[in-house]
Amino acid sequence: MRNTLLLYGKEMLEMSRSYKLLWVPVVFILLGVMQPVMMYYLPELLAASGDIPAELASTLAVPSAPEVMAQVLNQYNTIGILLVVIAGMNLVAGERYSGTAALILVRRVSPTQFIVAKWLGHITLIAVSYSLSYLAAWYYSSIMLGSLAWQTTLQAGAIYLCWILLAASIILLFSTVLKGGAAALASILLLVVLTMTHSLLPSWFSWSPARLAVDAMSLLSGIGSVNLVGPLLLTVLAVLLCVMGASYIMRNQAIQDQP
């Protein structure tokens, strides 16, 4: 436990040294804020571009705040997830190939402690960035586009947080097996497959963790029923499996020298 906390502290220090602690939250906040601002100014922007007739421009309504929040989640689903994966792709791979992992693991640190500290560090970074970004999007949507029901918005945000944390855990798992770029690609593919199977065959994959993302969006736009016990349990299980799998692989992995 003490080792894990020590490594966690070292992990946070490392993240602030590489400016990750700064740029990931800033990019996330920009991502969240852009959507409400864009939607608010869209009719004016289209009118200013002069390519569409005036009658059509006047019919373009500014969407309501809940709709825009759903779009914000949609943005997270594409660019946000990509960001989570890219920020984490060298989580373990980088340490392994630069030889830091070997240096740490010859001390009395178990691979599990090492992985758990890495995981905690990444989870903290992503959870904080996402929460700040979601709050900023919420604030902007409500001052510009009308009020939001705070219970629904909070609920949807929390549900979506689980999905994004799953993505953060999956990249940890792949990062122990593959090199940075390949790990990022593999996790993106896995997440896309999860989302695709759920959207193509919703009744077969009603337990899929991808349901969290979809339900968070439909919760905001006020359509569809939300039954989350299955997906939520499975997501927690999947996160645990990712961390356990990663530490299992780490334990059985020959420590590599420079590539």
């Binding site: 400016y19 740029w23 800033v26 906040i29 009118a47 902007y140």
Partner: protein, 66 residues
């Protein structure tokens, strides 16, 4: 079209912060840990908007292992 600056200003400020972080990070980095020449990255960061800075943070440095 009237622009409400109190809405836009924070967004611009955030973008500026991002660019400044990227430039400070680049300035402090040793030349041999940076992939490619530094001047190239300055251009990418300044003109690449948000994406430019992200690309620098993700791909610009060798010590991240990739």
């Amino acid at each position: 079209m009237d622009i409400q600056w109190q809405i836009i200003a924070p967004v611009i400020l955030l973008q500026l912060i991002l660019v400044v972080i990227a430039l400070v990070s680049l300035a402090k980095a040793e030349a041999e840990t940076v992939r490619g020449t530094k001047l190239l990255w300055v251009v990418i960061i300044l003109f690449g908007n948000i994406i430019g800075s992200i690309v620098y943070f993700v791909a610009g440095r060798k010590d991240d292992g990739a």
